[in-house]
Symmetry: C2
Subunit: 452 residues, 2 copies
C-alpha cells in the first residue's frame, strides 16, 4: 500500500473572502423573472424569503466578497478541509494519472453544506430572524442548517423528501440532535403539500415539492425566512471556499489540475470546487477541463432543456433560466437524494451553455461500484452523491491509462456516506438497481415548461 499524502493548510490560510464567478464571465446569465409579470425581479421581491445581505450577494458582480469574521471563526471547526492524493486508487487503477481529492466530509454534518449554512444562518441572525424553513433531499443540507441554526439560536424547520426520509431516518435524528424539526414532504402542513397528496397520496416527494412547502411557510409567516442549500448564486459563492483552498493546496503539491470533476444535483459542490479554477482560466491563467457528473436517472444537464422554469413543483418561486427536466418531473427514488432535482443552478447552466464545462451521466450501480473501490483504496466511504464524482474521476484516470497520458485530476469528495449505509447494504446484497426515469413523464414535464 502507498503512503497517505495529505495537504493541510494552516488555519490562518482559510480564505478571507468568497469568490464570485460573475465578475469574470464573458456574459451573464439571464435574470430571474417574476412568475406573474414575467419581468426581472428586484430585491424587494425576494425580501419576504431572504435577509437583505443575502439578496445583495445574489446579484453582486464583485469578484470578492468578505467572509464575516464570526463565520470564518466557525469555519475553523472543520476548515481548512484536507486535500489528499489518492495514491492507492492510482495504484489499483494502474493509471499514469495523478488523482487528488478535496474532502468536505470533515464538517459537522459530513458534507460541504455547512459552508453555506453557517453564513446563511449568520445573515439571518443579524437581521433578527427567529425561524428558517428549508427543504432537504438526502438530509445533508437539512442537518447542516440544523447545526448552523443551533449555533445562532434560530429555529429550523426542514421538509425532507419523503423517499429520503424513509431511506435515511438517521438524518432526521441528526437534525433533531441539533434541535431542528424535520417533516416528510409532501406533508399536510402546506397547501402545496396537500395538493400533491390529493393527486397522489403515495407521492415519494421531490426536492421541487419540498421547496414549495418550505417557501410557502416562509412567505406566509412574518417571523420566518427561507434558506436554499444549492442552486442560487450566493450559495454557489459560499461554496467557493472549497476551490479557493484547493488552489492553495495544489500549490503545496506543486501541481495543477488538468481536469476537475464534481457531481451535480443543484450544482453547489461542483461550483465550489470548479468556479475558482474556472475564474483563473477566464482570467487567462490556466487551461483546464471541467466535468460535471450527474445521475443518469435525473440528467438535467445532459437531457434537460435550457429554458426558464420554476425552481419548485408548486410553481411559487421566480422563473430562472436553467437546464431543467420540468418542474413537474419527479425523479425515480435512487439513493443519491441530493441529486434528485429537476433543475440546475442558473450559473452552472449558463457556463454549460457557454461551453465552459462538460457534463456526463452515470447509473446508480456503476457509481456505487466506483464508491466501494474508492473506500477500499482510500479508507473513506463516500456519500452516494459523491460516488458520482468518484466515478467521473476514475473514468478520466482510465482514459489517461489508455492514452498513456499523465494528467492531473482533482475531484470534490463532497461528503461521507455514514448516513447512507442502507444504500451500501442494499448494494452488497445485490438489491440496488439502475433506476431510470420514464421517458413519457419527462416529455410531459418538459412540455409543461412555462412560456416566457
Amino acid at each position: 500500500m502507498s503512503d497517505t499524502i495529505k495537504y493541510l493548510l494552516p488555519e490562518n490560510e482559510i480564505p478571507k473572502s468568497w469568490y464570485n464567478l460573475m465578475a469574470d464571465l464573458p456574459s451573464h446569465p439571464s435574470p430571474p423573472l417574476h412568475p406573474g409579470t414575467k419581468q426581472p425581479i428586484g430585491p424587494d421581491d425576494l425580501a419576504p424569503l431572504f435577509p437583505m445581505e443575502i439578496i445583495m450577494q445574489e446579484v453582486s458582480m464583485e469578484r470578492e466578497i468578505d467572509i464575516p469574521d464570526p463565520v470564518r471563526r466557525i469555519y475553523k471547526q472543520w476548515r481548512p478541509a484536507p486535500l489528499y492524493r489518492a495514491r492507492n486508487l492510482e495504484k489499483i487503477l494502474d493509471t499514469p494519472a495523478k488523482i487528488y481529492y478535496k474532502y468536505e466530509g470533515v464538517s459537522p454534518s459530513g458534507s460541504h453544506k455547512p459552508n453555506t449554512a453557517v453564513p446563511q444562518a449568520f445573515y439571518n441572525a443579524q437581521e433578527g430572524v427567529k425561524k428558517i424553513t428549508t427543504e432537504t433531499g438526502a438530509g445533508q443540507w437539512g442537518s447542516s442548517l440544523a447545526y448552523a441554526g443551533a449555533l445562532f439560536g434560530i429555529d429550523v424547520q426542514v421538509f425532507m423528501v419523503k423517499v429520503s426520509f424513509q431511506h435515511k431516518p438517521y438524518r432526521k435524528a441528526l437534525m433533531e440532535s441539533f434541535g431542528a424539526q424535520c417533516f416528510a414532504s409532501p406533508s399536510d402542513m402546506t397547501n402545496s403539500g396537500r395538493a400533491i397528496l390529493e393527486k397522489d397520496p403515495d407521492s415519494s416527494g421531490s426536492l421541487g415539492i419540498a421547496i414549495s412547502e418550505a417557501v410557502e411557510i416562509a412567505a406566509t409567516n412574518d417571523d420566518t425566512k427561507y434558506a436554499l442549500g444549492s442552486v442560487l448564486n450566493h450559495v454557489l459563492m459560499h461554496q467557493s471556499i472549497v476551490g479557493l483552498e484547493s488552489i492553495k493546496q495544489m500549490e503545496m503539491a506543486d501541481d495543477y489540475p488538468d481536469i476537475i470533476v464534481g457531481c451535480t444535483g443543484g450544482g453547489s459542490n461542483f461550483a465550489g470546487i470548479a468556479f475558482p479554477f474556472l475564474g483563473q482560466k477566464l482570467r487567462g491563467g490556466s487551461d483546464i477541463d471541467i466535468v460535471a457528473v450527474e445521475p443518469a436517472a435525473c440528467p438535467s444537464l445532459t437531457k434537460g432543456q435550457y429554458a426558464y422554469d420554476f425552481g419548485d413543483t408548486g410553481q411559487m418561486t421566480p422563473l430562472v433560466k436553467m437546464h431543467t427536466l420540468g418542474s413537474s418531473f419527479i425523479p425515480p427514488a435512487f439513493h443519491a437524494g441530493g441529486l434528485r432535482y429537476h433543475g440546475m443552478a442558473p450559473l452552472v447552466s449558463h457556463i454549460k451553455d457557454l461551453g465552459l464545462i462538460d457534463a456526463v451521466s452515470y447509473t446508480q450501480l456503476e457509481v456505487f461500484e466506483a464508491g466501494v473501490q474508492f473506500a477500499r483504496a482510500e479508507g473513506i466511504i463516500p456519500a452516494p452523491e459523491a460516488n458520482h464524482a468518484v466515478k467521473g474521476a476514475i473514468v478520466e484516470a482510465l482514459k489517461c491509462k489508455k492514452e498513456g497520458k499523465s494528467k492531473t485530476i482533482l475531484f470534490n469528495l463532497c461528503g461521507h456516506g455514514h448516513f447512507d449505509m442502507q444504500a451500501y447494504t442494499d448494494y452488497f446484497a445485490g438489491k440496488l438497481t439502475d433506476m431510470s426515469y420514464n421517458e413519457e413523464e419527462l416529455a410531459m414535464a418538459l412540455s409543461g415548461l412555462p412560456s416566457v
Copy 2:
C-alpha cells in the same frame, strides 16, 4: 455563540514514538497466567495468536517505542487529531471551568480504534499473516481493523456481539465496504459459540463471547492470527498517541489539565488520553486528577473485583489480574456496545488499585442527555461510549461552578455517533431506558472467578 477554538498540530508533529506507562510505574501489574498451569505465560504461549513484535511490545518496559514509518505515514490520513476548547458548552453550563476535548472521530472508522488497528495490521503483514480474526462490540473496532486490513491486503473476520449487530447493522456494511466479513456472535462457526447457543439460543452475546470465537479460530488455524482492540498493554500503548498529541496541543493553548476524563470499556481510549499525562505526573512534572467514566450497567471498575479472571467467556485466554464482573457476566443490552465488557485493562486496573485514578459510573439516560447537550453546543454528535466522557466532563465543570473554581478539564471525545443514530432516535422518542444488571447474576458471575 462563541468562537471555535481548535488546536491543530502540523503533520510533522505526529509523535515518532508511543509512550509506555510501564516505564514510569512505581510497581508493575501482576503477570498474566497460563489458564492450565497457573504459571506466568511467556512469549511462546502467545505466539499462536499474535505476531512476535506485538508480543514483545506487550511485555516491554521501554518508555518509548518507535512508531514504524509506514504506520506514521498512514496515521497522516487523519492525524494529528484536533483538540478543541468547548467554549459554547462552557457558556451553556455557565461554568468558570475551561473544557477541552480531543476529538478522535476524524479517523476513517470514526473513533480512536485505527490508532492501534493500523500498527497491528502492519506487524501482522510484516510477519506474513494473511488473515486476522477479532471481536467487536459497537463495531468501532471491527470497522477499524477492516480498514487497516484493506490497506495491508489482510483478510479480516469480525465477530460482532449480536445485540450490537442488530442495533447497528450499518457498522457491518462499513466493514464490508472495507472488504471484511462480519458475523453475529454467538455464531455456530465455533465450539464456544455453539456452546453458548445450546444453553441460550437467544443469547444477545457479549464481548467475552465474541473474543472466545475469534481466539478459537485463530488458535486452530495456522495462517490466522488474532487482534484485540483494547485491554492489552500494547493496545493501550498504541493509543498513547492521543495523549502525546494532547500534551503538545495543551501547550499551544498555554494551559494544562487539572482533570482528565475518559470513558472506560476495555480501557484503551481512556489510557490513550490519560497515560502520557499520568507519566508526567509520575515523573514529578504535574499534578492532575484522572477520572474513568463507566456505564452503571457494566461497572467493572466501580463494582467489580480486582482478581485474576479470563478475558473471554469461553475461558480460553490467559488469566489476567483486572477489575472484573466475572467472565460469565453478560451486561444488559445498552447502546454503548464498546463498553459492554466484563473486565478492565490490567494496566488501568492496576493504577486504579494504586489510587492513581478515580472511577465513576452513570446510567444510559444521563449520558445521552449529556451527549445531546454537547451536540447542540459543539456541533458534533458523540458515540454513546463517548457520551460517558462528556457526562463526566460536564459533572466536573458543574462542580467547578458550585465551588467557584476555574479548573481546566480535558476529555477524550473518542468517536462520533454517525452509526449510532438509532440510539438517538430511541432517546428522542422516549424509548431509551436506564438498563441495569441483575444483582444475582453479577454475584453468580463473581462467585465463579477462577482460583489462583
